[in-house]
Symmetry: D2
Subunit: 372 residues, 4 copies
């Protein structure tokens, strides 16, 4: 079972979309940049980093020159690089807005890591800036580009479960470095909710194609743990969807790695365990006939994401998860924090239609018939 | 893997405690009465039923005479049966109080199915009646007598998980007969919460050995489904425990059979899936070393329960799950329904100490070292 | 998930076939007699045992009278019992022939535990005796009456795997009592092969509907282990089927309980793990689409077996696994021991046609569409 | 769960061992060359290929120059490259001998893919050539460098299973291209046995640390399938080890991908399913306490292998799987083909001692305590 795909041939770069990767942290160096090698429609054309030595090493490793590495204060020079058509923002959340706006000003399309920003207000400003500049903005909701999560969505929406009644999802992991930027409210905008809990929230909205009408949340922030001086350690939250569907979610920086998603209907169940992970997603579809684990082709999730945005750029289409999709999660997360502070249910504005904040369907959609 | 144990030899009956089974519904006929055959300390001495033909058939099948079968209006004749030392009430919930009180008046010890009653008030009255009559009262919380759930409790309490952070539990099944007494509020006292959700509630309290300080619940009762005219179809609820531990629970009469329990700590996880079932319980204990599924001897859960109460009778001890344990669940369930009606968090009275409502530890306790 | 079915109503006994159970060892007492309670077409009418106290206890427990219990030397009195239409022989293997012949002489139909006898020659004599007496003889191959093994057979035979290439099966367990009759060659006729390895052999023949053309075997009989003075501890054997299909089998009295069956085709795989067990059979059907675990109704395997033979008696039909099916396994086992002794491949007589030694299909056949 | 490790920093190359990769087929391009990026002690310094365009593309992609790419007829020029200390032969099996001998003549250490050659005779000649030239030769038995297979070995050898009785292993996959060199006897030296069945053989020898005393094999080569004109489609084989341990193995080019390994002892079982794969190995250790799946750090298997040989070069030590280990598998495979042709058991020369053909233990040894 070879999992690593053929290398792209360099000559095809002319047709592919060049990305500048902004920020070379763990995600960039371990997932994104290696993953980009298998893209059909995208390639890494430049790197922006505050660590020039690290940048040069990456350049050498990935067939770039030293001239392709930029410090942050020369970010605007990317404006002159015609081969850089898009930038991928992989910075601490609080910097997303600034860099998205600077990129938009240069006329570059922007792919931005989740969460899109640190509040619904900032996130909306980013959407507005890109619209004004005439560039595309996509929120990097990786799960919405995988065949596994699409098969789960198809199973939920094709009626085989019968009407959906309840949803249960957990995403937690241990964050043990008290100095991590993810534990600073100013940099992160929140705790595990905005980092890992957002997967539960975003994926459930994606599976149902609908928006919650109300939320309730409770959080735990232990006073005596230096890691949690600024953000919550754990949050439990409920999302109330149209038709009485309720989703129970748990997220934490204080639990062994757990990532699950279960959708319960009267005639069947969809279970992903693990859900959300870069590799090894396992989907089980159960009904009265039995349990079915569909097989999926092994593909790099970051390639799928980069490719989708590249195609949208080429074809001038709104991506499946545009900035608006990210703004909506911020609205809901803002409401969750309000609920946790007040101890009250918080109602959300009604949103009509299905997939109200989404654009062009990605390639993963409809590729796999979900039920055997 | 033979699972059915040796038959008891009839001559040992003198030392065993004779039970009268009151009510021969599905639970009695399919689980309880067959299960009783493997008891070491208990046996079925009499049957009380409204259906004399069914009663006679059972009597023949289980080596009783026709004289051992009583209609409900001759219930008090059991008072003269010295060999009947205990009655097991397996009637619709709303009848529990009456029959427990009548049994107590006759001086018989009482094992009563869960939920103990239809409200905390009625449940407390039952406890008081038994106390006054000097007889023991036990709530039939089957899970608290199984080695599997005890191994889960040990894993939670022995510190190997690190501090517990979050708990997630689901218990749902389809109730499709609109005429079932379980769907009538007067007879059942509630919907899936009091029937199957109570397993989540009771088992989580058991695992932690602590009592919730607050609850929040939301329920769904579809107007157009004839099954749910009187009781909820589904309930989502949160239980807040000391130290910031939150348990998320889901219960429903509208989902495919699902019974799970997951306790998340910083160093490990306890998972039962399925939890709560009569057979086939699967426990996984995970830590950084790996995942471990301990093996357990195959034993009939009803025998374990009947035996524990029989031993308490012989040794004049308070059972592990006395009436008070059942009253406490009613207090919490009453609070859950109040929360669902009001949309507000409901605080509960603080309860100090561990296992505050429990008595003598059962045989399953400490028999299996939980972690390999 | 209640697993124990409704009790049969005694009045229906007139239409049901009464069995005399001959031998009350572990299998009878823990599986067969309890299982018989859920039969639709059969019931236990008499018991034959060398232990009168045990017999009486069982009689009381199962609604028989003391007059229904017979010692071996009064076996022939069953001849006068019109209500006893069949006998079920559950004795050490070396006694099968004698009791089948005595039963046939009385005009009783005979269900006989596997292995049918201790050699092909003796087994054939039993078939001949029953034929002459005009009574039916069935070999109690339990697996051939379960919906799980039928679903496996359907998956193998319906072509979805593509052509079958290889089969792998293991059946082993620890036999730790050196005094067990199963370890005496005279009583058992062999070691683990005739006791548990026969499940691999018989079930593979059943799945393919074909007969092996050659066999090879090697056995291990440790000189210094008192348990294995007379019979092998382990045997590894190959069965060569038409078309080049080879089955690899392992059987042992010296391994942790293991019971598996895997059929490998070019387009898919059928896996049972565990296979052969009384409860908890798990079937997985895999193809390029994914893995599927079909669900099956919970039924007592002994009831299915007793019912099939009862129906054959009523309808005067040859059972699915008649004596001839048992003779064929003896021919093959005799060849396996010859191969192990000689170190040579042993050829078997060619057998044409499908299911060459089988009769009327049982109820489990075709009840479940194997592939979701 | 990020799986892709940090990039090596180029400046460390001076201390690392430079490899020339000879042959850029699927294994090199998809596994080996990408995997080498995570080596601590090794790096790719040159490529040898018959396809110059492919070679250049790889050079660009992996930070080599065009001068680092050599056609086969300039192989000897590597002799002048001081930075190339080792060559890794990834060519069709029949070419292994020639290139190993040419490399040895240049004084380069040689890592050679499995099977080492096409016969025991050729394999021995390779060992002799390297010895004479004073260079190290290692057979690339990847599984012997993984912590998962070492944990299995530890479990087998530490006595927790009790004495090992039987082993069962399957390795099969579909080979559907009739033009593949693996289906040409001259190029491959055999069929699935030498390609995938060798994993069963080699890993079982590794687990036991002992050598088989006899073998028996049967093969199937369908006359009418154009793929199997020259080599077998499937082989079933038995390996007889000291103490009566028998291993049953199945290998095939005509079955859905299957890769399993099960070691059965009286007190426990070791199961790998899948075994042998590049990723996703799953190990279960079972005993009377339960089932345990240890967790392992995610590491690239090719890096582990390259690193081991690099360290042996630096420290002048015999690698754990030297050429002699590969010769021994050829001796056994030659015996298996002889057995299949003759239909007879073939005896092997007795080999005393444990790990008789192995050298310095690799890093994966003893890193993980196998049993929780």
């Amino acid at each position: 079972m070879p999992q690593k795909p053929d290398l792209p041939l360099p000559q095809s770069e002319q047709r592919r979309v060049g990305y500048a990767i902004v920020g070379i942290g763990e995600l960039s160096s371990e997932e994104l940049i290696p993953g980009a090698r298998t893209s059909e429609h995208a390639y890494v054309a430049a790197l922006v980093t505050g660590d020039p030595e690290k940048g040069k090493a990456f350049a050498r490793a990935y067939d770039l020159t030293e001239q392709d590495v930029y410090p942050y204060d020369r970010f605007e020079e990317l404006g002159q690089r015609e081969d850089v058509e898009a930038v991928y923002i992989v910075l601490p959340n609080s910097l997303h807005r600034e860099y998205v706006e600077r990129a938009a000003k240069m006329g570059k399309h922007v792919l931005c890591e989740k969460p899109l920003s640190v509040s619904a207000e900032d996130a909306q400003a980013m959407v507005d800036a890109c619209k004004e500049a005439g560039v595309l903005l996509m929120t990097a909701y990786r799960c919405q580009y995988t065949p596994e999560h699409w098969a789960a969505r198809d199973a939920v929406q094709d009626g085989k479960l019968g009407p959906v009644k309840l949803i249960d999802s957990i995403h937690g992991q241990v964050q043990d470095d008290p100095e991590a930027w993810r534990l600073k409210r100013d940099l992160a905008g929140g705790g595990p909710l905005v980092d890992v809990g957002i997967y539960c929230l975003n994926t459930i909205r994606f599976l149902l194609g609908q928006e919650p009408e109300w939320v309730f949340a409770t959080l735990h922030q232990p006073q005596d743990d230096p890691r949690f001086k600024e953000v919550e350690e754990s949050m439990s939250f409920l999302l109330g969807f149209p038709g009485g569907i309720v989703a129970n979610c748990l997220t934490s920086y204080g639990t062994q790695k757990t990532a699950t998603l279960r959708v319960l209907g009267e005639q069947g169940t969809v279970l992903m365990d693990p859900a959300f992970t870069y590799q090894g997603l396992e989907l089980t579809l159960s009904d009265q006939q039995g349990d079915f684990q569909p097989k999926f082709p092994s593909e790099d999730q970051f390639s799928l994401e980069l490719d989708h945005f590249a195609q949208c750029i080429r074809e001038k289409k709104t991506p499946w998860t545009p900035g608006e999709e990210g703004v909506q999660d911020h609205r809901i997360m803002d409401a969750l924090y309000r609920s946790a502070r007040s101890g009250q249910v918080v109602k959300l504005e009604k949103v009509g239609g299905r997939d109200a904040f989404r654009g062009e369907k990605p390639r993963a959609a409809g590729r796999q018939s979900a039920w055997g």
